[in-house]
Structure formats: structure tokens, C-alpha cells
Symmetry: D2
Subunit: 355 residues, 4 copies
């Protein structure tokens, strides 16, 4: 392996310590410093990882030619200015979700990274859990066949957030995972959002998202702060097999069912009767792959390094962060329109950038 890369963690609040700890433990990285306006807070994080330089000056960090990358764990509204400055200074960037506080700024960030040939990665941590990595691999290998539906439930007695509704609080997890495992990413044209605020909390506490996928498939997300039971489950139906991910069942998180409906389409002019005749049912085995035990953030650190070294996009790129952000924005628009489906305006960006 080539020599280590050098990273500075910017932001020593809630998530920064986790990033610091994992970069410190990574064989790919040297943790060069912790940067926070509150030097005392930075020092506590530095101590916890066994000692590292602290600074309150982002300018100094960006001016330091030995620093390869920065990891941003600051409030969402600061993601854009810090990222733009870092890219300007030639640094690779990994940024906490959400990528930015609005998609227009996210687009700027993505385009700038693209122009400068730098890696801009979104820290969708959950995508790097062993279960989700395995799901992505199975789908990519064609093990499920074409995707027919994705249904995700993330409900719990949750803290009602002061600044965001249940969609912005919980759905980023489901959406970023869908973006990660679907072969083409979460390329949706419209989203319908239905929310409820039955307690009068001033924001949705129960929510449903529906997104048509290509080929007649559908994705659906149920998020709920008011459920007394905790559910973290995703069902991914495919033409060949169907996968159920139950994150709260440590003894069998991922199950693959070789059961389903087969429909043999003989011709496009098939009549209704012929159609029925061509339906058959498979009732095969169930299989649950063994999953390695590895902390997701260790995988995040490794992926960030690999993307830089291989001069490629990270698997959770800035563009994936942008797709998630765009769906959330469209959800808010749909919600404001009483559930009428709203357009997700991101297709153009991808076309522009891949051309």
C-alpha cells in the first residue's frame, strides 16, 4: 500500500469524535489535526484519540500542503462554504449528511469537485454496515434479478426534533441506502409525501414517501416518531429473489427468499387470459448470509482513501448526497401540495456531468 494520506477533522461536536477515532485507527490515514472554533472542545477530542494537534484556524489547515483531505462534521448550513474553500485549496472532502442545506448549493459543491478532479464524498455511514454492503453486492451480482419494489420501515418512539420533521430526520437513512444498493442509484422522477401531525407539534411526526422507479417498480418509505415499537426493516423484491433486511435481528439480519411470482410474458399482445395462464409461483429455500463484524465508519475511512487513490468517485459520492437532498426537497414540496406527487429535478445534473 502507498503511504498514508493526511486528514483533518473539522468540527468537534457530536459526530467529529467518531470520525477522529476511525481515521486514527485506519491504516490508510494519518489524523493530522482536529479543527474547531472551540479549542477546548477540540482538545477533548484530541485527548480521547491519544493526542493530536488542535487548531481553531480553518485557513491554516487549508494552507497546509501536507494535508490531503478534510472531514467536515459541522452544522449543515456551513457545509457549503467550508467545502468550497477546501476544494479551492485542492483538498479532498468528506462531509456529513446532509450534503448541504439546499440542493442548489449541493450542486455547486458537486460541480466544483468534478471540475477540480477532487473526491467529494458524503458520509452515508449506514451504507457501510456489513448488511448494506452485502445487499449492494447481491443486487449488483444480479442475485435478486430486476428490482420490483423496495419497502422500508423506520419507526420508533423518537425524539421530536426541534428543527426538522420526521422526513428530514429519518428518511435520509432509507434514501441513502436505496441510492447505494440500487444499480442505477435513486433516480426517481417524482415523489409523493404524505405526513401527519396529529399531536400539533408543528411538523410531520408520521410520514410516508412513495417513489415510482423505472420499469414499473416502486419504492416506499414509512417513517414514524410515534410508534411504541421499534422497526428497522427493508424488503427488496426482485424478479429472481426477495431480500428482507431486519436490522434489529442480530441473529439473522439479512434473509434472501427464493420465493415469488413468475410471469412469463409471451408477447405484447397477450390477452388477459393468456397472462393469467403464465403466472407461476416459486416456493424455494431461504438463505441468510453470514455477515462480518466491522464498524461502518472504518469502512467509510477506507472507501474515502480508496476513492482518492483510485481517482474515482466514492461509492457514496457528493452526487448521491445530492440525490438524497433532492428527494427530500421534493418531498417537502409534495407535502405542501397535500400529497400530490412532486418532481425531483436532478436528472439534468447527472446528464450534464457524465457527458
Amino acid at each position: 500500500m502507498s503511504s498514508r494520506l493526511s486528514v483533518v477533522v473539522v468540527g468537534a461536536g457530536y459526530w467529529g469524535p467518531n470520525l477522529a477515532r476511525n481515521f486514527r485507527a485506519s491504516p490508510d490515514w494519518d489524523l493530522a489535526a482536529i479543527c474547531d472554533l472551540d479549542l477546548e472542545r477540540a482538545q477533548r477530542v484530541a485527548d480521547a484519540v491519544g493526542g493530536v494537534r488542535v487548531t481553531s484556524s480553518l485557513d491554516d489547515v487549508l494552507a497546509d500542503p501536507t494535508v490531503d483531505a478534510i472531514a467536515i462534521a459541522t452544522p449543515a448550513r456551513t457545509h457549503h462554504p467550508i467545502t468550497m474553500a477546501a476544494l479551492e485549496a485542492g483538498k479532498h472532502v468528506i462531509v456529513e449528511k446532509p450534503l448541504a442545506d439546499e440542493s442548489a448549493r449541493g450542486i455547486e459543491m458537486v460541480e466544483r469537485a468534478h471540475e477540480r478532479g477532487l473526491v467529494l464524498m458524503t458520509d452515508h455511514t449506514f451504507c457501510y454496515t456489513p448488511a448494506v454492503l452485502k445487499i449492494r453486492e447481491l443486487i449488483a451480482d444480479g442475485y435478486l434479478g430486476d428490482i420490483l419494489f423496495i419497502d422500508s420501515v423506520r419507526i420508533n418512539l423518537g425524539l421530536i426534533q426541534p428543527d426538522v420533521d420526521v422526513f428530514w430526520d429519518l428518511a435520509p437513512h432509507d434514501l441513502s441506502i436505496m441510492d447505494f444498493v440500487l444499480p442505477g442509484g435513486l433516480e426517481v422522477a417524482t415523489v409523493a409525501a404524505h405526513g401527519a401531525d396529529p399531536l400539533g407539534a408543528g411538523k410531520s411526526c408520521v410520514g410516508y414517501l412513495t417513489m415510482p422507479l423505472t420499469g414499473g417498480a416502486i419504492a416506499h418509505v414509512h417513517v414514524n416518531w410515534l410508534s411504541p415499537t421499534k422497526v428497522r426493516q427493508m424488503v427488496i423484491g426482485g424478479t429472481k429473489r426477495t431480500l428482507v433486511w431486519d436490522d434489529l435481528n442480530p441473529q439473522q439480519r439479512v434473509s434472501v427468499y427464493d420465493r415469488g411470482v413468475d410471469l412469463t410474458q409471451v408477447s405484447k399482445v397477450t390477452t388477459a387470459d393468456a397472462r393469467d395462464a403464465n403466472i407461476s409461483y416459486r416456493l424455494g429455500d431461504t438463505w441468510a448470509p453470514a455477515l462480518p463484524e466491522r464498524e461502518a465508519l472504518a469502512n467509510v475511512a477506507a472507501e474515502f482513501a480508496a476513492a482518492i487513490r483510485e481517482r474515482r468517485e466514492a461509492r457514496t459520492s457528493g452526487r448521491s448526497g445530492l440525490r438524497v437532498l433532492s428527494v427530500l426537497e421534493a418531498s417537502s414540496a409534495s407535502l405542501a401540495a397535500q400529497g400530490a406527487p412532486a418532481s425531483v429535478d436532478l436528472i439534468s445534473l447527472n446528464e450534464r456531468m457524465t457527458s
Copy 2:
């Protein structure tokens, strides 16, 4: 108890034998005859219950003054003419779901029964299971408080029906149960339906229904023919407690959680900050009521008799069948409009009839 009532079962196909068996075993009823155009089929049903008269003439049945009621288990399109003739002849009627093949006809049936002072009951069998009866009772007693949300999941590897989509096949169960347990019935103004036909079966095989309820609450139904796992679960969140009905867990079908979010609304001009300050969380006990073992159809027969004797509407009245039908029709309209919410036009009927 007064003397027994006399009933004729019309239709000896799939469901008729179950009706015949339960009327036969009921202390409230005399099973007078089985009526079917196919006399041989009628005879088989008659034999199975230990012998009873058979006939192929509905006219004779309706002309018989000793017959108090008929139970209709014929195809949906015949529900309207048979019911209208029976009401004309002064017979009480219980009819298989759906009440009729379209709501306009259903309205006629309901209005005619109303005018004639006869009982028109819809056989929403599932409402009479011990679990659903207990849920209705708990809600009516205020045990859950005001309803905040109802989320129902009914998924399974299901037979793709030749004539109906997944909404019309499965959602009637969820909708009739919601109508049964909600204090005011399923009085929804709009419904949004999102469906998917990813196999090209010519109809939705995966579907989601969303219905705003009064007071900011929400109801949601997930039906799916393509799921390899079977789920029959309904969560009913209330201001006081939340109930989970898991019909596939015979050891604990109904659980009531004394956990939830409390929001003390001090005033209408409360600021966002004040609001947050007034959120609190309850983490109380869970309780699972013991449920008696009794076949739902036995309860149906008893309720039909009781409604007749007490000269009242049945708990699953013609109007409840009509509400379910209207929501399904609106669902189809929403589906045709790519998920834009569609109006449910039934409020007027209820107003007209209760005035």
C-alpha cells in the same frame, strides 16, 4: 330468548357452506334452506350440515312468509338485484363483501333497507374475530385516547387475481376493520393510492393507500401480493396508548403499549420553543389482553339476529360496506391520476340518512 329466526343461504359456492354451517350451529337461527341455481351443489352443502331443504328458486324463497332473512353469497354483480328483491319482499339481508359492484348501486340498497326498516348487514367477517372485537371495545372505552394514526400491513405471496388488483383483493379487510374500530367509522374525505405493476400483470400487485383522518390523524394501508413473507399487522396510535395487532402471533395477538409522546398544548400562540418544552415521553408497561376463542362467523350470525331483534343497524351495516366500497372506488380514481388524492363522496349519504 325469543324464538329462532329463519334464514335461507343463497349461493352454494365458496363462502355459502361456511354461512350454512354457522347458521345451522347458531342458537339464534333456523337454517331453512340452501338456494342455488345448481341444485346438486346446493345438495352437497345441505348434506354437509346434516340435511336441509334445497331449492333453485329465489322467488319461492322470497315468497315464503316463514323466512325472515336471506344470506347472500353469490357473485358481486348479483348482490344488487337479489338484495333489492329480498328487501322488496320484506326480508332482512346479510350480503357478502363487497356490498355491491359499484357504490351507486350500494347506495340504492342502503336507502331501500332504510326506508323499509329492514336490516342490511355486510358480512365483514374479520371484524368479528375476538382480536378485532377487543380492539373496537378498547377504543370505544377511550383506552387509547384520540386516534393519531392507523398503519396496516397485509402482505403475502398472494395469488394474483384475474379480475381485481391488489387493492380490491386485500384492502377491503383493512378498510372494513378501520371502519369497525374507529369511533366515527371510516369517514375519510380523500384517499391517495400508489400502485405498482412491476411484473406487467396488467394490474397493481403492490399498493399503498393514504387517508387523512379528522384531527390531523392519518390512516395508511400497505397491500402486497409479491412479498415472500407474510405480515398481517395493524398499529393504532392514540394519545394515551398505542395498540399493535399482530394476527400471526397467536401467543400475543393484541399488545397495548403505554408508551408514547405527550404534548401539552398550553396555548394556540405557543412558540416553537415553548412547544419543544412541552414534549414528554411515557415509557410504561405493555399489556396483552386474553382473547376468547370463538369463530368469527358465529359472532356474525349472532350480530345479524341481534340487529333484527333490537331493530337497529348491524355493527357492520350496509353503510359500512358502502364506505369501504367508496374508498376503494376513490382509490382507483387516485391510481388513475398517478397518485393525486381523490375525493370520497359519501359524506352526503350519511348526512341524508341520519337526518
Copy 3:
């Protein structure tokens, strides 16, 4: 297939109707008659299967040269005389469990059938469920490797039987299944039984059986009438894989875990340290085979016919019934001796008969 065999069901009480129904539906069998001293009861069973001859004379049945076999569903104490008479008359016999009311009589029955070249089958119905058939097949194919332990739990709020304790009521199921799936059958030399009668019911209501198996393995059974929860679970640990059969989980009754401990035994003089060095752990996949849907008694009827035609022992032979009986008798002896292990004296029989 050769022409059908002819069978008479003797005993029209609790189990006889099930036998009659399955022999009637079997392509292998002609149900010739129902025989019961109570002719009225016999007639009811005959009617239920669509009509068949009834008789109260066992002598007539046995004298009838067209009858190939009889199926005995009478009280346990009558199994011996009826079976002996039937074998004398040259009839094949299938007999309800227990084979006899005491093993000495069971031995006579087994030896007589052996001498006359007739099939004597014990109706261990549970062995013919799709799950148990699959377990037997997997073990026979070496899929689990050598068996290390079998742990069976069968607990439930059960009816306290007037005449037998919890061992004789429930353990025959576990023991007959173990006998069925273990490659060499349930060849145990001793059994220790621990029971408790904490309610003062006059017999054990909670019980545990422990049986050393060959090669250092162990079998254990927990039966309990006082448990408020219902458990029907068997774990079979093998050197290669471990199987869990959870009969109350219809979605995944049989799971095979490719996890376990491997111990490489280099030599017999290995020291403790060397031993530790040779322990390793496998953490592989889980696999749940699809199981066909078929009533167990249909398989019983088919096996009985096949054993007769192929002139071989049935898979649940008289000898297997005898092994179960012998373990139960030894259990009672151990129980009387406050749990001191008691000998099971059956090895000799098998040696005698196979020589």
C-alpha cells in the same frame, strides 16, 4: 403401481376417523370397512368418508381373505391382543402409539411379525411431517456431520391427563422423532428422568429426560404442562452444521446453521494446551429449506403400503415403537429412583432379531 391394498380401520374413537379419511384418500389403499364394537360410532365415521361397510366383528375382518391389513386405533391395552390375532391371521398391522402398554408385550408383537414376515408399523405420525422427513434426510446425507447433541423442548399449558404423567403424554413425540432421524435410531443404554409435581396432581407435570448417546453425544427432552407459552423446538447439533426445528414458526420451521466449533484432534496424547490451540469457530450462512405442504397421515398411509410391497420394515417399525416404549419405562424407573439413571434393556432384542 400394483393394485390397491385393502385395509380395515379398527376403532372409531378419537384417531380412527383420521386414519379412515387418509386411507380413503390414498391411491395405495382401499378402505374396506370400519370396525368398532359400537356400530353407531363406526357408522358415523363411515358416513364422514362417504360411505363404507361397518362391522362390529373383528373375527369377521380377520377371516376375510381380501383384507390385507388392519389399522388399530383402540385403547393401548388392547393393542397386544388385536395385533397378535391379526398377525396370526396373516394381516399386516399399523398400530397407534404406544405400541403396547408394556414393553414385554411389545417385544412379543415385534417378534411375531418378524417370524411371520408381516409388516408391523407404529403410527408415529409426527415423523411424517415435511419438516421431520427433511431433517431425517439431511442427517442421513451427512449434512450435519456426526450428531453432538439433541435438545427438544415441548412445553405448553397442557391438559393434565388423568391416567399418565407428562413424560408418557408428551415425550413419545420427542423420542419417536429422535428415533426416526438419528442414523442408528434411539439406541440409548440409560436414561435419567427428573420430574416435579409442584401442584400435588399426583404425577409429574414438569419433566426432563437425559440420555447419553454414543460417541459422547447427549439427548435431552423438556416436557411441561404448566408453561403459559407454547414451545415446540428441537436443536440438533452436528460436527458440520446445526439444525433448529421450530415447529411454531411456519415461515421458517427448519433452519440449518453453518456455525459451530471445530476441534482438530491431532493425536490421542494431545495435551490440554494443544487442544486449545486446535479449537476454531465457523460463522457461516444460515439456510432454511423449503418444505412441501402435505398432511403427515397421507405419508403414513403411503409408507405402510410401500413397506408391504417392498417387503421391508416400515420407517417407523414396531421396533421403533418398542424403543420409545422402553425409554419411557426406563424413565419411570429413574423417576422412582429420584433421578438416578436407569438402564434401557432393548439392545439385546435388536441383536437377536438382526442376527
Copy 4:
């Protein structure tokens, strides 16, 4: 509250850091020092809790008049000499389980503490989890009625220990919990142990313990290192209700079933028939109490302080550690005798000390 007590943690290996952290955080305690022959190891523990004195001299610790108590987390064979020296020096003692490496030494420790009026507590940590504390409370309040049976299962793919068998590794948990929740403690006269070493590991890897309790009740423990699935479950049947503790179900760890068998004993000369007539079945509700979230070791620290201040035995006293030790020793004796029940010789001690 009175002023804080002063404690020194002796032993900085596996468990010592946990003790140090919890004494440090306790409002009842001042953590005075960490004592270990390996000063470097002691220093690491001291640093982790934010700095505290370290020493390698137990003599100095015991000579220090400001030290009230010591917490011993050293290997089992050193528990006796360290405890005896500490008691001699007038210090209260909490000691890791097992209390000692053999019961004869444990008796000396218990008697010495008794004579000197000092608290000798065994750190049965699991007893102080919220679930077990609740179970103890429910039983003490008579909520379950008289205990009929206790069945504990603790199975897992476990590390095969180099020095102890599966009984000594896992059963101390079950036994100490039984001792904690049973009103009279684990007062058993005999124990039967059945073990298996099917892999040739040189010690039992699968084991069963059976202990008759007073009044015809029974306790049973199943421990297993070879199970691919993890189970941590205890069922406690009582005359009034039955409790199931499933430690791996965080959403419902403790369930209380109001179901069971009632037996009305009219007289001692009741005949079998009369007995049957007096059996009835309750099928009542299930109830799952909410459990607080609190680390067990924090409760341990609080109990140790309370016992000292209130001059009483700790709830997990030296005697309870001794009872567990005695049962384990008797288990080994039973194992050596091929499962014949072995006597537990501790009753005398309790009689001697309470007199």
C-alpha cells in the same frame, strides 16, 4: 446522605476497570486508588477514569485507615487470602464471582466477615440488572404465588474455556439469579448434573442441572457452548402467574402471564377422580412491566454502600456466593457419578450462622 465511603479496587485486569469506572461515578463512593502488582496496568485504569492514585502494595492499602472497603477483581485462587487479610484489617469487601476457588475457603471468608461484623458482598452483577431486580420484587410481593418451577436456558456459540467446563463458565449466572429471586435463596439439598463432551474437548461443553426445590418444585439449567443460536431465557412458574424473562428481547424482556393450571386440593385423601375434577385453567392477560435503564454495576456500587451503612448483609452476600459455589461443587460431583444426584452441603452453615 452521609459522607462518601472510600474504596480501593484491587486488580486491574478484565473486570477491574468496570468496577473503577462505576465507583468513580457513584455518589456513594470515593475511588481512593487502583492496586495491582503491575503498576503500568493500574495506571491505564487510573487514567481511563480521569486520574486516581495507583499502588502495587496491598499492605499499604489495608494499613490505610481512611480506606473503608476494597473491591477484589483478581484471579479466583487469590480471593481467599486477599479477603481474609482485608477483613483482618477491618475493611468491607466486595469480591468477584466465584467467591473462592473452593467452598471450604468460602466458608472461612463468610464466617470471618460475620464475626468481624463486616460486609462481604459477592459481585453477582447480573442480579442488579433492571429485569432481575423487577423479577425479585414481583416474587417477593407474592405476585407469582408459590414457585412451581424455574427453567433457565443460557446457550450460545461460546468460547470453550481452557480451565473450566460449561457448568462453571455459564451456570453461575443462572444460579446466582435463582438465589437472588427465590424468597429463601437457592436452598437446594441435591443437584443432578448431566454433561456431554461430544467434541473431545476434555470437559463438558453441553450441560444440564436439575435441582429439586422445596414443596415439590424444581429448578433446571441448560448451558451450552455449541448452540449456533443465542438464547438467554428464564421461565418462572408460580401458582398465581408465570414469568418469562427473555433477555435478548429488548422490547419485552419480562412478560408475566396470568395463565396457568389451578388445582384445588380438597383433602389429602382425595381420590384420583376428585383430583381431576378440581383442575381448572386460567387464560388471563399478559403484562410486561416497563423497566428503567440503569447499568447493573451502578446498582452494585449503591447496594455495597447501603449494606455497609445499614449494617446488614448485601443482597448478594458472601453466603449467596457460597451457595452458588456449593451447587457448582455438587454438580461436579454428580457429573463424576454419571448424573446420580449429589448432596449440597451448605444447609448447616446457614443454620450455624443465623443461630
